[in-house]
């Protein structure tokens, strides 16, 4: 003999929940859309002509609490800065978004790239920019004013 009515309530509520439908999706085939503000891997924003918006001012590098960003620069031929490498250590990044907040030129953004598992440790260090001239801060500001 089962005492009490708790078991009966359990059956009723479980049955009710069975009718409420699934809350999961079949992942690789179906994907949920992320909210616009979701923060995942950092990526570069480029101008329409494919040139970087980055001016190599190093504010993002100084802002990052975990030092996952690294920029090597040299002097460009026609004056200004040349970006040898813009390195992003995604394996150590916690996706806090402080670098993106700090960037005065909106040259980087938090992407929605969340499938970050990899077989090779080398993939955890990404070179976002390589061997390009940095944007001139003055031209960049002017461009923003025009837009």
């Amino acid at each position: 003999m089962i005492e009490g009515t708790g078991w009966l309530k359990g059956f009723v509520i479980t049955f009710r929940n069975m009718l409420r439908g699934p809350i999961t999706v079949r992942y690789p085939e179906h994907k949920l859309t992320l909210p616009e503000r979701s923060r995942w891997a950092v990526q570069q924003r480029l101008n329409d002509d494919g040139s970087p918006r980055c001016t190599a001012c190093l504010i993002c590098v100084k802002e990052c609490p975990d030092d996952v960003l690294y920029i090597e620069t040299s002097a460009a031929e026609g004056g200004g800065k040349h970006i040898d490498r813009y390195v992003y250590e995604i394996g150590a990044c916690m996706m806090c978004g402080l670098c993106v907040e700090a960037c005065p030129f909106s040259a980087i953004e938090m992407s929605h790239e969340y499938e970050l598992a990899t077989r090779h440790g080398g993939d955890l260090v990404r070179v976002l920019l390589q061997d390009v001239d940095a944007a001139s801060p003055r031209r960049e500001r002017k461009g923003e004013a025009d837009a």
């Binding site: 009490g4 509520i13 909210p35 503000r37 979701s38 923060r39 609490p65 916690m94 806090c96």
Partner: protein, 400 residues
């Protein structure tokens, strides 16, 4: 000799001897045979990787059969040196580590730090920012209580409520992700306000959760509190007397379930709580079942608060102008918020530099766990899991 059969300890003792009284309290690690009894006390290691310890908690338990003679909590497995790390982070970067202290309700730690910094640097916070903070904190409180309620049901042997509560928690986390950009590591509340205004269209998913929150929670109450087995497992287990709770510096639902009416939201209102109407549920006995009842009622009250906040959300700026390289004047402040676990305080000392000179985190779960040695001794080992679970410990915050 009487005809009655000899049972229990008596049956294995030499005839005529009496069992020695129980050992005095405190862990003894007695080797076999020393206590004159033929039985051996067993030292059992529960955790740090154990499904019933709610995190990486190591419990050393001395057992006499099923009975717990003494228990000792061994903490520190999740120590990351958050207080020390804080000394090298600038004020606006602090969210990134404070989210990882109490990882179940990051908004409370973030807000406590923001309140402390604002007190120190005398920053005015716009009314809207305060309301947004209250909103996200109450949502976070519900998410945190859900993730307590489910596992404590599992401690007592109920599986279904856990999965149903995870489903509801997911609705809250989706809203919090839309607001802050991350499901748990928010980094959203800053000194001066919040990073961004509430996103457009956040009303709909929030109202969708509000519409079902009370109803679905009622069902969970039927599944847990309405179940005889759960009641039998929780009632009279892990009783904390009001004096004990005060003596150990407990706070939050653990304190209120012992009948002491202390809620920082009422006692020292911060953010929008002064303008909001809500009740503080109290317990009477102070057992695990009271703690369950208090927390469930707190979710109902949080739903009430969220509804009021959403209806009365003021217009205006979401943050005041604060310098990026904030250098508060030298001084010392303490600010606290009512986190799901209790009084979460930030004691901040500045020497006028760009980073805090010292940051101390008053972790409520640490004080609540302190009572464990007192609480578990004399109970049964199965009750130990329930008692411990009912305290709502988060090791990230205890170890810091």
């Amino acid at each position: 000799m009487s005809d009655e059969p000899v049972t229990g300890v008596q049956s294995i003792l030499p005839e005529g001897t009496q069992p020695t009284p129980m050992l005095p309290k405190g862990l003894k690690r007695v080797p076999s045979g020393v206590d004159q009894l033929a039985t051996e006390h067993l030292i059992l290691n529960v955790g740090p990787q154990h499904p019933s310890t709610h995190g990486v908690l190591h419990m050393l338990v001395e057992l006499d059969g099923e009975e717990v003679i003494a228990a000792e909590a061994d903490i520190g497995f999740l120590h990351r040196g958050i207080e020390k790390l804080a000394e090298s982070r600038r004020y606006h970067q602090m969210g990134t580590i404070l989210d990882r202290a109490d990882y179940v309700s990051g908004f409370h730690t973030e807000t406590a730090f923001a309140l402390a910094t604002e007190k120190l640097a005398e920053i005015e916070v716009p009314r809207k920012a305060s309301w947004i903070r209250s909103l996200v904190m109450e949502l976070n409180r519900c998410a945190s209580h859900y993730v307590w309620l489910g596992p404590v049901g599992m401690d007592a042997g109920a599986m279904a409520p856990f999965l149903y509560l995870m489903r509801e928690r997911e609705m809250i986390l989706d809203v919090l992700e839309a607001i802050s950009g991350s499901r748990m590591m928010f980094n959203y509340v800053r000194p001066g306000g919040v990073v961004r205004d509430l996103p457009a269209g956040i009303d709909a998913p929030l109202r969708a959760w509000l519409a079902i929150a009370d109803k679905y929670l009622g069902e969970t109450e039927d599944l847990l509190g309405g179940n005889e087995i759960f009641r039998a497992r929780m009632k009279g287990v892990g009783v904390i007397a009001p004096e004990t709770a005060l003596a150990f510096g407990m706070s939050g639902a653990c304190l209120r379930s012992s009948g002491i009416d202390f809620d920082l939201r009422k006692a020292r209102p911060y953010c929008a709580y002064g303008e909001i109407d809500f009740d503080v549920p109290l317990g009477t006995v102070g057992d695990a079942f009271d703690r369950y009842k208090v927390r469930v009622e707190e979710i109902h009250q949080s739903v009430r608060i969220v509804r009021q906040l959403l209806d009365g959300m003021p217009e205006g700026e979401h943050t005041s102008k604060v310098a990026k390289a904030l250098r508060p004047p030298a001084g010392e402040v303490y600010a606290a918020v009512e986190s799901p676990r209790g009084e979460l305080g930030i004691h901040l000392i500045s020497d006028g530099g760009p980073t805090p000179y010292r940051l101390r985190l008053r972790s409520p779960a640490y004080y609540n766990l302190g009572v464990a040695d007192e609480l578990l001794a004399g109970g049964l080992i199965a009750d130990m899991i329930v008692s411990l679970g009912s305290l709502d410990i988060v090791l990230g915050e205890i170890d810091r």
